[in-house]
């Protein structure tokens, strides 16, 4: 899978690019204004400012222009114009992404899908919602609730994040252990190629002819096509859900309890872990009722019919007790269940309250390595002189260590960045991955060099080229070029093989 000519081609737009000249900006703006009403093309610095970054604010870039098309035809027109004028295009939803995937390109256009905010169809009998990409995640479940249905993926940012962004990142949430990721809950996509051609992938039926381009497009971080419509699968809302909250005086025991729950044949609808630092940060802010004396707490949710939930909760309590839980509480009402979850869902804002800045990691490891990882993170805290609080989607091994730092203090961001990269390299070494649900974006490009070989990365570029031959859609994100990896190549880890396995790593 050697494609050096493409790698060279890709780096044309993927490297650092100088801001365009005023003439170039004017020419592109004029071309776009010929296609869209005046208020749909933003070019003044103060208008561009809000688009400089997404939820990962340490990476900022002012775009050349921002466009806000309102219809699929306008999206196609914009793409054709950008292709003709050789202008990079960065799609953007609500800008809540955590990997800089929507960070603008200096010489490019940000294509905001904010105006694609309508639920086009909700068919309760077929259990589908056809929505525009700018619809907020939570709005789908709110609209479906009247029919006793819901949309399962529920990322913590679900109040604000959009379905288009969820598709781009293959977002998860606290319930994906049982209900799957965005991938498992999207039936079809409609989008525009860089040629300005609408294509349908998947649809209302379960299977489509040919290769599974739908699966390939989900989680493709805006590199393959611009999504204009999404067909979502809706599920019947369970009769009842209850949460068990268990305290542990040792994080290792909490990790083992997670594996024991799964080994007992129980798939909770959510299974989350928070360490002491996380509960301490969250509790004063949310008053969720967390046990502040515990080294770690587990939240395990059971849903189904009342009888089924009662049986499963009893089974969960037995396993948790056998694994040394020091205290167990079960939600007695829906209000209490939501309160137990509120702390978990507010962990990121809580980090923002106790520290000027925080850096959220997103690696995934096999569940049975949770204890090992936590101990390693403790050592890294000392090595880098920074605190880290840990919240985990423990059921699926997805970690969100939150590294606390102060960007105004010299060197702290650099230390946080290296701390994060170390965690991700350890994830790969433990048989996991550098990103579970936040995406690679610009943030984890270097770590991609660690996880994938040059031939594997060339395969990714091959996929990109199959959809986007000129390489204009979100260039410089998600896949690092050969040159970048060579630069980063001071330390190569491949499939857990370190060059000097005998050396202590932390």
């Amino acid at each position: 899978m050697r494609a050096p000519e493409f790698d060279a081609d890709e780096s044309r737009w993927s490297g650092a690019t100088a801001a365009p000249t005023a003439e170039r900006t004017l020419a592109v703006a004029q071309a776009l204004r010929a296609l869209l009403p005046a208020d749909c093309v933003l070019s003044r610095a103060e208008e561009l400012h809000p688009y400089e970054c997404d939820g990962l604010a340490v990476f900022r870039q002012q775009p050349m222009l921002v466009v806000l098309p309102r219809t699929e035809a306008e999206v196609c027109d914009v793409l054709r114009a950008c292709r003709r004028l050789d202008v990079p295009v960065v799609a953007r939803g609500a800008g809540t992404g955590l990997s800089g995937g929507a960070m603008p390109h200096a010489a490019g256009v940000v294509l905001s899908l904010a105006r694609f905010n309508r639920i086009l169809e909700l068919d309760p009998l077929a259990r589908i919602a056809r929505v525009q990409p700018g619809v907020r995640n939570l709005a789908v479940s709110e609209a479906a609730a009247a029919h006793g249905l819901f949309y399962a993926p529920d990322p913590s940012s679900q109040i604000a994040c959009t379905i288009g962004g969820n598709v781009a990142e293959n977002s998860g949430g606290v319930h994906c252990l049982k209900y799957g990721l965005t991938l498992h809950n999207v039936l079809g996509l409609r989008g525009c190629t860089i040629d300005g051609e609408p294509i349908d992938l998947g649809g209302r039926a379960l299977d489509s002819p040919g290769l599974d381009l739908l699966a390939l497009s989900i989680g493709s971080e805006g590199l393959l096509l611009i999504v204009t419509e999404v067909i979502l699968k809706l599920l019947p809302k369970p009769d009842l859900a209850r949460v068990v909250m268990a305290s542990f005086d040792d994080v290792g025991n909490a990790g083992e309890a997670v594996a024991a729950i799964i080994a007992a044949g129980i798939i909770p609808s959510g299974l989350e872990m928070m360490d002491r630092k996380a509960t301490a940060a969250v509790e004063p802010f949310v008053r969720a009722g967390y046990d502040l004396g515990a080294e770690a707490i587990l939240l395990a949710e059971s849903d189904g019919t009342p009888d089924e939930v009662a049986e499963e909760i009893a089974a969960l309590e037995r396993v948790l007790q056998a694994r040394g839980a020091t205290a167990i509480a079960v939600s007695g009402s829906e209000a209490e269940r939501l309160r137990f979850w509120s702390g978990r869902k507010n962990a990121f804002p809580a980090a923002g309250r106790i520290s000027p800045d925080y850096y959220c990691m997103d690696g995934t490891i096999p569940r049975n390595r949770l204890g090992h990882m936590l101990k390693a993170i403790e050592q890294m805290e000392q090595q880098y002189g920074l605190k880290c609080m840990n919240v985990f989607h423990a059921g699926d091994g997805n970690l969100h260590p939150l590294i606390l730092f102060d960007a105004n203090r010299a060197g702290e961001w650099q230390r946080a960045d290296r701390f994060g990269a170390d965690i991700l390299e350890l994830c790969v070494q433990l048989g996991g991955t550098i990103t579970g649900e936040h995406g690679v974006g610009v943030e984890k490009l270097n770590s991609m060099c660690v996880q994938f070989s040059p031939a594997e990365r060339a395969a990714f570029f091959g996929v990109k080229r199959a959809f986007d031959p000129p390489g204009l859609l979100n260039p410089g994100k998600a896949i690092p070029t050969l040159a970048r990896c060579a630069e980063y190549g001071r330390m190569h880890v491949r499939h857990g093989q370190l060059p000097h396995p005998e050396l202590p790593r932390f």
Binding site: M1, C176, P236, P366, G397, A459
Partner: protein
């Protein structure tokens, strides 16, 4: 490198350098499926064995030639299973073939399709390199999702040498209810029930009979049985029924010389009145033993937002529902990148590729 893998690699390298096509094959249980392809057979069964299985991780990793029966019996010993219920078609397919074909059984609506359970693959590509995509963890968004692209690719992009699959605990109890219903009544009920929190894990309809399988906690099943009514099948009869649908050993499949597989929205009105039909997946999968012209059936499926695959019979090279030009272009470019000399299963999935 393992000897068997080394041999596969040498064969691929030789084929790539000579530009001679290979026909990848496991146990051959799906020789009838898809398009025929020319090429020297490359038997994938030599590279076999379960590489890794940790029940508490819910992940099993196996080499391509491992038999499905071996994997299923290993999982069953630990109270787990492949929830997408891959069809064996009365034989013992390899896991590589199961994933390359990407077919799913009766539990598809509730549990998901084969591709939903693929966590990682290793691909032996045309240049002889082994490419690792995905991994052994449930959540993984690093790099494009090539593992799932390979699921259902029928080997046209390369040879899958290893797969990691998500596995699930076996349901604690299963029960099947039988109803006498006309096609339209069955479709209406299947859809209505699917919108309620019922533990339905499979549905089927054929010739005036409908079956509904329930899976889960005993308490949930007894509540559901009371709500749904119908006649409870014995455990043996139920197991035989679902196995015969999964493997297509049911009498319906034996007789049809021309069999269509219509993938349509579950709510689509009856599509082929008068023809012998078997319906699965709550109405989303309709098997029609129809002599209608291909264009007519395709038009009917397409009109409701679905597609029609000529499962058995029909003219060579025209079995798959046609792709739109823009989507076919993407297929062409993917094929050209992964298999520039066209050595892997040429024409097996799509006649032109």
């Amino acid at each position: 490198m393992d000897d068997a893998l080394q041999q596969l690699r040498q064969r691929v390298l030789a084929a790539h350098s000579a530009g001679t096509p290979l026909r990848l094959r496991g146990a051959g249980t799906k020789d009838f499926y898809g398009e025929r392809c020319e090429g020297t057979q490359l038997d994938m069964r030599g590279y076999s064995g379960v590489v890794d299985y940790e029940p508490s991780e819910l992940v099993l990793t196996a080499r391509c030639g491992t038999s499905l029966a071996e994997i299923e019996s290993l999982l069953a010993r630990h109270g787990q299973f492949l929830a997408f219920e891959p069809p064996a078609f009365g034989g013992d397919p390899t896991i590589g073939g199961v994933i390359a074909a990407g077919l799913s059984g009766p539990r598809r609506v509730q549990a998901g399709a084969a591709r939903d359970f693929v966590l990682g693959t290793v691909l032996l590509c045309a240049h002889g390199e082994l490419l690792h995509f995905g991994g052994k963890v449930i959540k993984n968004v690093a790099g494009f999702d090539l593992s799932r692209l390979l699921c259902g690719s029928l080997g046209i992009l390369g040879a899958i040498t290893e797969v990691s699959l998500k596995v699930l605990p076996l349901p604690r109890l299963e029960q099947t209810l039988r109803f006498e219903l006309a096609e339209s009544e069955a479709l209406a009920l299947f859809n209505r029930w699917a919108g309620q929190p019922l533990p339905i894990s499979a549905t089927a309809w054929h010739a005036g009979e409908a079956w509904v399988r329930l899976s889960g906690a005993p308490s949930a099943l007894s509540t559901a049985c009371r709500r749904l009514g119908g006649e409870l099948l014995t455990a043996d009869a139920a197991a035989t029924l679902w196995r015969s649908l999964r493997d297509q050993t049911h009498a319906f499949f034996a007789h049809a010389s021309s069999l269509w597989r219509l993938s349509v929205p579950s709510t689509a009105a009856p599509l082929a009145a008068g023809d012998a039909q078997l319906i699965e997946w709550g109405g989303a999968l309709r098997w029609c033993a129809s002599a209608l012209p291909a264009a007519e059936l395709r038009a009917r499926a397409q009109a409701v937002g679905g597609s029609a695959l000529h499962w058995r019979g029909g003219s060579a090279g025209a079995r798959l529902h046609p792709l739109t030009p823009a989507v076919l272009d993407i297929h062409r470019r993917l094929k050209a990148h992964f298999d520039p000399r066209g050595i892997f299963n040429p024409g097996r999935l799509i006649a032109q590729l």
